[in-house]
Symmetry: C2
Subunit: 506 residues, 2 copies
């Protein structure tokens, strides 16, 4: 390769405020990174390059020494300057900064790259993922949203795209309040905070209420995103035993002995179990919480995704003492990329959460808020919900039938009346982790139950999402799961230590 | 009013899972809140309502007692049930929850409602606000964005609207990296984290590095959003004295005596002063920071908004030791509602920030990321930047001329070579707070300099944004400011204690 020709293509501009030596560094860095100058290439001697580019020799010396500092070239005495055989291909400067010493203490459970890769692309490749809690992209109402944007386009007040209040775009706060009131959860705009996805609602609540060593009551199993945020905040987790019915005796005992800051619950179609809290449990829970002035965080991504009758009134609807904080989201009903949810709570809570939110991201993004306001105003959510309820019900039924056909008796489950998941219970001989390994080789995935337990309890359960794929693909996925179950049952005697996997947020 | 007629309009549905008594409560609550049932109205006796609605008397008793618990009605023995004279008009349940006792300790500086209202609507009413750091909504390239969305529409992979990686939409990370590399800041996608506005970048950095009582070096004055986030995290702030030149002697003294976690700086067109750090200061700063392994946070909202020659190479460009963390944003160049910025740093830093971000909001919202990726790919930012540079330069010049005309000698300033602000210095006889009060009565606003100092230093400076209004309106605004200055100078002898105002984020 004619290096001289390659290098003479570099144009320097003395009029720029960027010094010439840095212009040379930039040009050479690009050529090294795109392999125009491959590893091992010998660069021209300083004198030659200075002549070639019409700059002083000092300029070239400065450029070469900066490139060397950055690990992109190395100088061998007597031989010259060479492109490093391991150029920092990512452009990373050499790790002279002791970053690990500067960080605040990390969390116990870094995300496992295995789990992340399983969840990262639930629809992209040939693997049938039943892991992520994702709606089917085929149902994302993109045309509806485009139409809403178009209809809004000419009435758009440009100032609505500027800085807005931390609490949210006021017309959207109004339309969420009106919509919630129609659903029975009497709300006013002052009680609504728009958040960047319900995950942010949860984060802000934890930030506003939890100091290290505060107690919190959780269902067990429960949403692993909640476990993660609470653990990261240093909360101590009081888990209610896993059962169909809320154990209110233990609950009251926790209230009296630990004075917890709040109870985190998904009353409708819980993630991961799909369970619905009974009306009588809800009423008794509210009674107890009111007596003890216990705040309840009711995380509600799924209540509108019911496949029979709607669930009982929410805790927020039954709230007699003003202590229920309700979190909603459009991520499961429309699509996750909107990253828009809301918190519905008493005004003092909204004020405090807004104060925290201001530091986190000033305010949620405006485009999605405009879209969602229009969507609610034009009642566009209702037909969309009717459609996805019908479709997901068919998928749930298809998955259930396939499990009965291919996975009995190694796994059973309860038929969830809504939401996105079936919660499978494996016969004790089968390890979910080992099953996941087998499944991966067969091109399917799911989430092992352990991820949903706070204290690393060993679970013989798995979570299967039935929403992401169509019935045929779900049937094929469960057929493969049946094969994986058979293979794992056969090898179950071989004990396998679980991987040191963290918990993905899903 | 015929209550009976009003109430007979209530339709109950026994087939719903919502119990009848709650259906009644919901219907009555709506009527009370929209004043169909005004305060003081007498509700029918239980027996009568049960007949009217065709439900059992127990159902009505349950409904009335829940309404009473919620403070919406009250029962007077012997008289009947009446709509409360103070129905919780906002729908707030009576404040039986001791929220203030449950919250984590708050911040010292709650937002002042005066300041918030000044900043809230910089373009909406007749007040000429020079307070918020806002681009002019008239320049928001909405048609461009619409065209980009349209061009993308049919090639849209719907999965791109689902859950994506916490680090950001990979095509956008790639196009930001390529764009930054073209600007001289050699970057690879692994070194880019997409964040929900640069404020979030700052928040995540503070969360990753700062524990209570850690030291941080700041310029003084500096961006008040940074002061707020750092104070909230319990950092101890080491301020560099306010001067045109970086005082590197004090800087090194700080490094040696306090071992600070990082230095937060805006090297280009600083907020609020508009200053640019000189190339030699930058080089010396990097040399010092490299020796002490000090991380530098280079917050850069303004470097592309230059009105003469571009600023010198950024600290990130000059970074020899991998310690510079660069924060960028599209909020000032395109529009704030996009809420999309990025952090450019060494891969270990990006990994840690992504871990924190996962808890905060999972990932940034997809629509803006798609739009911005298309914008960079089609080079649409470049002509837009050329336009706003031209326009804002004219506005800066218009504001400067008006200040010379109307405000001399009570105020002087340096002509900023870029960014959005002029930083006015008042003669000592004038209090910025008193000036703001006068200004408000004349229909203009600005930010008093105190807001930009960490330790509540009394400042005789004010920040004026020249980007939000056109030349004519700016001229009128400054003319009024001149009148306010004159009035305040005359009354300056009357000492006014500054309000207990917190700092708005702007």
């Amino acid at each position: 390769m004619d290096i001289t020709k390659t290098l003479s293509g570099i144009h320097l501009n003395a009029a720029l405020s960027l010094p010439l030596y840095l212009q040379i560094v930039t040009a050479l860095t690009v050529k090294i990174q795109d392999c125009t100058l491959p590893a091992g290439s010998k660069l021209p001697p300083e004198r030659e390059l200075s002549r070639l580019l019409g700059v002083s020799r000092t300029t070239v010396i400065n450029a070469y020494s900066l490139l060397e500092e950055r690990g992109l070239v190395s100088t061998r005495v007597g031989s010259g300057t060479f492109v490093s055989s391991e150029p920092a291909a990512t452009g990373s400067p050499s790790p002279t900064m002791p970053w690990e010493q500067l960080f605040t203490p990390g969390y116990k459970a870094p995300l496992s790259s295995i789990m992340r890769s399983i969840i990262a692309s639930p629809t992209a490749d040939d693997t049938i993922s039943m892991a992520a809690g994702m709606p089917d992209p085929a149902f994302y109402p993109v045309d509806m949203i485009h139409a809403l944007l178009d209809s809004r386009r000419h009435s758009l007040d440009l100032a609505d795209l500027g800085l807005i209040a931390t609490e949210g775009y006021l017309p959207l706060r109004r339309s969420i309040a009106a919509w919630q009131s129609r659903l029975g959860k009497t709300a006013s705009p002052e009680q609504i905070l728009v958040v960047s996805g319900s995950q942010q609602g949860l984060f802000l609540i934890v930030k506003s209420f939890i100091e290290p060593r505060d107690y919190v009551i959780l269902e067990s199993p429960t949403y692993l995103g909640a476990i993660q945020v609470l653990e990261a905040a240093g909360a101590r987790l009081l888990c209610l035993p896993s059962a169909g019915k809320l154990d209110l005796e233990i609950f009251e005992d926790y209230l009296i002995r630990y004075r917890p800051k709040f109870f985190y619950t998904m009353s409708d179609f819980q993630n991961p179990t799909g369970r619905v809290m009974s009306l009588s449990d809800r009423q008794e829970l509210i009674r107890l919480a009111a007596r003890h002035r216990l705040a309840i965080i009711e995380d509600d991504p799924y209540s509108l995704l019911y496949y029979g009758s709607p669930p009982p009134p929410s805790l927020k609807q039954l709230d007699t003492y003003g202590g229920v904080i309700h979190i909603g989201t459009f991520s499961k009903t429309l699509f996750p990329g909107l990253r828009t949810g809301w918190v519905h709570a008493a005004a003092p809570v909204i004020n405090r959460l807004a104060q925290e939110k201001q530091y986190v991201d000033l305010h949620s993004h405006n485009l999605a808020q405009l879209i969602l306001h229009t969507c609610l105003e034009e009642n566009a959510l209702t037909p969309h919900l009717a459609k996805v309820r019908r479709e997901y019900k068919n998928r749930r039924n298809a998955m259930a039938a396939a499990i009965r056909k291919y996975c009995s008796p190694a796994m059973d489950f309860d038929l969830a009346e809504g939401g996105l998941y079936l919660w499978g219970r494996l016969t004790p001989a089968i390890s979910p982790t080992e099953l996941l390994r087998q499944a991966a080789t067969l091109g399917i995935s799911f989430v092992p139950g352990d991820a949903f337990y706070a204290h690393g309890a060993a679970s013989h359960e798995i979570r299967l999402c039935f929403a992401t794929h169509d019935e045929e693909r779900l049937n094929e996925g469960i057929r493969r799961l049946g094969r994986a179950l058979a293979a794992t049952g056969a090898t179950a005697a071989t004990s396998v230590s679980p991987p040191a996997a963290g918990r993905p947020i899903i």
